[in-house]
């Protein structure tokens, strides 16, 4: 999902190319670019990890990334350029799992926006990971319950076909 001008939010099976992130999150009018890359690490909770499988509800995940990016723009400035890419599929140790690129007029907001986006991704994006260990076992990692973080949007948002009622309750 993207607006083809200043925001790119992509969930993909393709390898993340840092140059793509650099080029998408750039603007000649901006003096700062900040990049965060998350990678698969070889250890977690004392176990040796050989790979991580990422699963996602792609349409909702991309919509959530886009929502997070727009929240950042509302708070730190509408001129921001933002590129968020999240991998899915089975990744080996060292492969990039997520990239967040932010371009802004000055460095302070680019640092803050980058941190905001990655923290919100971990809390809200419908993405899951399964670790593959060196002993052959696998485990889906525990995470954050989405029902505690669901957001209510525009008051007059169209009701999705088949469902009704959209007052926030904040519970599962």
């Amino acid at each position: 999902m993207c607006d083809h001008e200043s925001t790119w939010c992509i969930v993909t099976e393709k390898r993340i190319n840092p140059v793509d992130v650099f080029e998408l999150a750039s603007d000649f009018g901006h003096g700062a670019q900040n990049f965060f890359f998350g990678a698969v690490r070889s250890k977690n909770l004392g176990r040796t990890v050989v790979a991580v499988g990422y699963d996602a509800f792609t349409p909702l995940a991309e919509a959530t990334l886009y929502e997070i990016a727009n929240e950042a723009k509302a708070k730190w400035g509408s001129t921001l350029k933002i590129c968020i890419i999240h991998r899915i599929g089975k990744l080996e140790v060292g492969e990039l799992s997520v990239a967040v690129g932010v371009s802004s007029p000055h460095r302070d907001e680019s640092y803050q926006v980058s941190r905001y986006i990655i923290e919100q991704i971990k809390l809200r994006a419908p993405i899951w990971k399964k670790e593959f260990y060196d002993d052959g076992e696998t485990e889906w990692l525990k995470g954050h319950a989405l029902c505690q973080h669901s957001h209510h949007h525009e008051e007059n948002e169209n009701i999705e076909e088949g469902v009704s009622g959209n007052k926030p309750t904040g519970t599962c």
Partner: protein
């Protein structure tokens, strides 16, 4: 009764059969809790070792655009997803 499809993700993938979704018959105007109870019943009927009631309780129900609030009512046939706690990044 209406028929809904429910997509499975993450830790629920182990309950997939030939497709990554299940079909359920639920009462019209079921609540989100009702949908989750129906999903739990579906799994209990099909998997003797089913033990993920707590995971279902902690999961959200969503469509492709949003996580559905707890007071949402399911009015007609549609495709939903059950989303266990997330851990992207």
């Amino acid at each position: 009764m209406i028929e809904i499809q429910v997509r499975l993700f993450g830790a629920f993938r182990k309950y997939e059969t030939d497709q990554a979704l299940i079909s359920l018959k639920i009462p019209e105007l079921s609540s989100i809790e009702g949908v989750k109870n129906s999903i739990a019943s579906h799994f209990k009927e099909r998997f003797k070792d089913f033990s993920d009631e707590a995971l279902i309780k902690d999961s959200a129900i969503a469509d492709e655009r949003r996580v559905l609030e707890a007071n949402t009512l399911i009015e007609r046939s549609c495709t939903l997803a059950i989303l266990p706690p997330v851990c992207g990044g």
